[in-house]
Symmetry: C2
Subunit: 207 residues, 2 copies
Amino acid sequence: MIFYYAIQTVSVASQIALEEAGAEYEERLIDFRTTEQQSEEYLQVNPKGRVPALVTDQGIITETPAILGYIAQSNPAANLAPLHDPFQFAKMQEFNNYLCSTVHVNHAHKMRGSRWVEEDDEQSKAAMAAKVSRTMHDSFNLIENDMFVGPWVLGKDFSICDCYVFCISNWLVGDEVDIKDFPQIYEHHLRMRDRPAVQKVMAVHGL
Amino acid sequence: MIFYYAIQTVSVASQIALEEAGAEYEERLIDFRTTEQQSEEYLQVNPKGRVPALVTDQGIITETPAILGYIAQSNPAANLAPLHDPFQFAKMQEFNNYLCSTVHVNHAHKMRGSRWVEEDDEQSKAAMAAKVSRTMHDSFNLIENDMFVGPWVLGKDFSICDCYVFCISNWLVGDEVDIKDFPQIYEHHLRMRDRPAVQKVMAVHGL
């Protein structure tokens, strides 16, 4: 497999899951500083011009929850998701879908406001950026109080949800949110940093 | 099961899937006109204050891709998803995740801008709303040209992806996008309207 990623992006989640699964893959860095994600070559891999993308023998997969689910399903021995209970599988998906459709989107309003207003509308982009600290705080408050089961996200078993929320929890400091406001998430964040798979990926990303 | 929904919202996608699966469920209408989604009673069901929510014997599921996946996995005879091939399952998820994290989010910038800027910042909210027609057009262009396999979203078999993209395709007219710009999506939309399950749900929503 080939894993396309960019430094300190949401790629971190899938890359940790690949390491936790013990999967064999090659890494290919996409350089956001030269907007390589919009290069003709990379648009052949992912026409959305985003990372990550995972090239498999059967074809290319994009979107973090889809890549995470694939890693879990194709490496069942790693036990990275509740694969045999549709309800528990749905709770896993519910968590990851909240991260992709609400939390990541909240965060994106800081630097990627031009997705939703004109590129040169500095006033609206600043108005969006100004609210990110609050929306990210509210999202992590919900995760802390209503979603996180403990000791891992879904309960007693480590899962792909832990990789994903850990990845996003690294963005909180830049979004001016104090992770210590969420004791379970903070303790989880520290515990994640002790895992060899996490340390390997964090080194790649200079984190 | 109990299915909580609101009129002409993304609930339509899951409701069609429930009908296509032949699932037994009770409907409970949440009235957005009285912001019932923020009532203390409903927040007990879904602390996010959103629809849909599906109450099962094991607990409550939220987030459209999670509910759709649950319906497919718990009604395997209905053949609503590629359940036995991790790659094809991931392609299904990739499609649904694009809808929830990009397309639905684009649409939400028309009426729900106060999620991302101050409630009274009319100028920024108007700037967001002004771009929705373009972002929705671009998203459906990508779906038409790079994602839709045909005759159904994933190929020869009908799936939960068809329920979801049909639901969102109903929003295009309000977003000032001409569905006829996307010939495959338009033909799919008309074909979906012929299905008894779709007609039953559309009648509930006055569509």
